[in-house]
Structure formats: C-alpha cells, structure tokens
Amino acid sequence: MALYGRKIGHRLGVSLLGLAALLVAIVLVALFLTLVVAAWPAIARFGWGLIGAAGWAPNRQVFGLGPALYGTVVSGVLALGLAVPVGVGVALLLTEEFVFLPRSLQGICGFLIDLLAAIPSVVYGLWGIFVLIPALGPLAAWLHGVLGDWVLFATPFLGRGMLPAVLVLALMVLPTIAAIARQSLGSLDRELRVAAMAVGATRWEAVRGVLLPAAGTRILGGVLLALGRALGETMAVTMLIGNVPDRIEASLLAPSSTIASLIANEFAEARGLQVAVLMYGALVLLGLVAGVHGLAEGILQWRSPTGNGRP
C-alpha cells in the first residue's frame, strides 16, 4: 500500500480508538447527569433533608432515605466485620506453607474461594430464602428468647431481615477480601519471613509481628473495596432483608432495607415524585460508594510500590 494511504489508515484507526476512550468518559458523565436530572424534582422539593428523614408512604408523598441509608451502612459494616477475619484467615491458609496443606491443595482451595465470588447474587438470594432463613429460625428464636432484652435481638424473627442479609453479604464479600489479602501477603519479600524466623520467631509470631503489619495497608485498601461492593450489592440483599424502608430498627432480627434494595424493589412500580426520590437515593449511594472507593484507591496508591493503585 502507498505510504499516503497507510498514513490515512493510521490516523483513522487511532482516532477511532481515541473515540472509544472518550466514550467511557462520556458514559460516566452521562451517568451522573442522568441521575441528577431524574432526581431533580426530589432535590428541589426536599433538599438535603431527605437523606436523614425517616418515613415511607409513597401514596401520601412521605419520603425519607434515612432508614435505607442506615440499613446500607449497617449491613455493609456488619458483613465486613464478619468477613474480614475469615478472609484474612483464608489468605493466610493459602499463602503460608503448612505441612498439612500441600501446594496443590492450596490451589484448589484458592479456586473454590474464587468460585464463591463468581456465584451470581440472585443464586445467593435464592439459597438465602430457602436454606439459610429456615436454618436460622431456631437460632434466632433462641437469641430473641435469651437476649431479647438487648436491643439487637429485641424483635421476634420474622424470616427476612437484617441478620440473613448480613450473613449472605459477608459470604459474598469474603472472596474479595481473601483475594486481596492473599495477593498482599504473597507479594511480600521472602526475606521478611526468613529474617523474622532467623531471630527466633515462631510462624505465628512472624505472621502477627512482621507479615500482617507489612501487608496491612494493602489489606485495608482491599477491605474498603469490598465495603464498596457490599454497599451496592442488590439482589441477594433485596431478596433477604425484608424491604421495610419506613423506620430504623436496631434489632438484627427485624426486617430493614438498603438504598439498593429500595431501588430494586420499588422502582418498577414508582410514579412521579417517588421515581425522583429513588433517583436521589441512587445519587446518595453513588456518593457513598465513590467515597469508599476513593479512600481505598488513596490507601492503595499511598503504599503501592508500582503506584498504579491496583491491588
């Protein structure tokens, strides 16, 4: 081909690629603008107050995102509280050289944990409804009976509610935490461990005193990424949390709601102002997730040797 034609082909091809990259940026801007425009009636009418307000009666135009926001944060934080120790434990199990766990078996365990991440959310929800909730019944009844005076178990267990949602959510974010903790621990210099053991540390002392602190910041970044996932997780939570958006209930046995579940549950039937309120909720969720992710990226960038911020 003539040089001239090749140059034109080059220009055309390169500008097409540039256009593709531009499209990603446009999508993000459009996402934000679409939410703002659709939420505008609610923003104009309620202002910031809607975020903290409680109450939900669409037929009387009573709205408040407070309970859903509370449910989002509480379910996310509780799920993380359960998943972090287990996830870090799994990561240690997969990176430490235990006599009883040969490399090949470690590989299989790693694959199984990754599989946990690949199972669709709706399958977790299905399992939660038909297996977990019935199995939790006796335990929850016992908790309410024995610890019923305590605010966390003050209400009787109705099935769908905060407790099953938190448990399934914990299971769903576990692989994210395990994967990042595993990578962080695995990327540490071998010398760190060798040096610790050379001065007489046992395995646990090396792990607790040297390896975990050295990997700590990156693990923390990973935990925040997992929190970002948990806050926006929709299907399993919608199917399990009970979707009661009108009041804040401290009891773990009571039904609750999250912003994501509120949108998933009500959007299809919403009309008029309710749509705007749900879009407002979407903006709040976007802000929450963006904040958590920003924090995570900041922490990872701060301590990541390559500086590309990727775990």
Partner: protein, 293 residues
C-alpha cells in the same frame, strides 16, 4: 523496614508456650478456611440437588409458567439471556479492546492514561443497580427506546466493559517492547503495529477477559429489572420487554408458587454450570497465554 522493630518476638517466654500459641492460631486459620468453604459446599449441594429435580428437556423448550400453572420451563428466559449477553459481548468487547489499546499503545500523555484508568476503576466500582437505573433514565426513557433486549444488553455491556479493558490492558503493559520496536524499525505505522503485532498476541488475553466478563454478566439481575423488565413469552424482537434467566429466578424465588420455586432452583443450576464453564475456560486460556513480561 520499620515494622520489623515494632514487635520483637518474645524470646523470654517459654518456647513450648509460644509454639502452642502458634498452633492455636494455626487451628484458628484452618477454622476460618472451613467457615469459608462449608457454606460454599452447602450452597453448591443445594443448587445441585434441588436444581436437578426439574433438569429435564422441558426446561429448555417450554415457556415460563404463571403462578398456579403446572409444568412449564425456562426456555424463553434462557433464550432472552443468551441474546442479551451475546449483544452485550458484541458491544463491549470491541469497545473495551479499543479503550485498552488507546490507553496503553496510542496515548502518549500520562495524564490522559491516568484519567482513563481512573474512569475504568470508577465504572468498575459503580454498583450494577445504578448502571441499570442509568440505562433506564438515558436509554429506556431518555432516548425513548423503551424496555427491551437492547436496553438490557447496554446495561450488561457496561458491567462487562471494565473487566475486558483491564485484562487487555494488563497484557499490553507486559508486552515486550522489542517486538514493537522491531516492527517500527521495518517502517510500520502505529496502527500497523497495533493490528499486526499487538492485537494478535493479545487475543488469548482478550478471550480470557471476555470469559470472565461473560460469567459476571450472565447472572446479573439488578441492571435488568428496569431495562429488560422480564417477559413470560418468547422474545419478540429487540424492543419490547425481554425475558432473562436471572430475572426469572428472582421473580420465582420471591413468589409463593412451588412449581415456580422449583424452576428457580433449576435456573440457578443452569447459571452455576455456565459460570463454572466460563471461569474454567478463562483459567485455561490464561494458562495458554501467560502474560509476557
């Protein structure tokens, strides 16, 4: 490293006690592994056993039943999911590869690369339900295209995009510069290097990314609620409400009809098999073409 000084091993203590303490924590770590794997085993077992109860030919050929109806299957939902995921793959793979190539091969300004990476990270972090709400606002209502397979596929493609960009990007970053330079030395333009050298080499990586993205998109439900909407009949074209397997599982699982609930389990089994297949393929492909560093 300062960390090493912070907690010196307590050498003064009794060695047996320290070793015992270490063994205790080894046991704790094993227990954590069990806590993670036991629910997985229970979940897989239930999906397998309950899903197999209705895993017959009718599932693939019959329409989704209404509540109270006997029999029926998931045929229309499966077809709807396949069509939407295929469309989403068609949208997102060329776009994702183009974006990754632009970021690693074409763009010379560091800030644009950084901005692009940030944009991809942000897109990856946006909860999938918000992508659904966005496509509803922008495409279903905004462009007036209405509910349908196109809107559903667009929402799914936004979910697939970051995965495809990242896997392609990772490969290109590790691609040896010698090969590129050799092509340039022979007088190739950027575009010729891209299409003739980098792209063919990146193919396995792109396929790996596509498989990973497929495995996520196939089970996604939240973004389809307000874009595909769900439908109890066969797909009647790309516009108009479209059925999807994941949506059907959601609806049947939250309903009260035992027949529908059984079909939800069968649907979950089909999804799970698909996820296993795509994840396995991704692993094999990744092993075939290890990132060349």
């Amino acid at each position: 490293m300062a960390i090493a000084h912070r907690q010196r091993p307590a050498l003064g203590k009794n060695l047996a006690w320290r070793q015992g303490w270490g063994r205790f924590w080894t046991a704790v770590v094993v227990l954590m592994g069990a806590i993670a794997l036991v629910p997985l085993a229970i979940l897989l077992g239930y999906v397998l056993v309950r899903g197999a109860q209705r895993f017959d030919v009718q599932v693939w050929t019959a329409l989704t039943p209404a509540a109270g109806q006997v029999g029926g299957g998931l045929g229309n939902a499966i077809v709807g999911s396949i069509v939407m995921v295929a469309l989403a793959t068609g949208f997102s793979v060329p776009l994702g590869v183009a974006v990754a190539l632009y970021g690693t091969e074409v763009c010379r300004q560091a800030w644009i690369r950084a901005a692009l990476r940030l944009a991809v990270n942000v897109l990856n972090g946006v909860p999938s339900i918000l992508l659904g709400v966005f496509v509803y606002g922008a495409v279903v209502v905004g462009l007036g295209w209405g509910f349908g397979a196109i809107a559903g596929a667009l929402a799914l493609s936004l979910i697939m995009l970051p995965t495809i960009i990242r896997t392609t990007d990772d490969f290109c970053q590790g691609f040896p510069p010698e090969q590129r330079l050799a092509a340039y030395a022979l007088g190739a333009t950027d575009w010729e290097v891209l299409t003739g050298i980098v792209l063919p080499a990146a193919l396995p990586a792109i396929l790996t990314g596509t498989m990973l993205a497929l495995s996520r998109a196939a089970g996604e439900t939240a973004p389809l609620i307000f874009t595909a909407l769900g439908f109890d009949f066969w797909l009647r074209g790309l516009s108009g409400p479209a059925p999807a397997l994941s949506l059907t599982i959601y609806r049947f699982a939250t309903g009260f009809d035992p027949n529908q609930q059984n079909l939800a389990w069968t649907g979950a089994l089909i999804l799970l098999l698909l996820v296993l297949l795509t994840q396995g393929l991704a692993r094999i492909l990744a092993r075939l073409a290890p990132p060349s560093t």
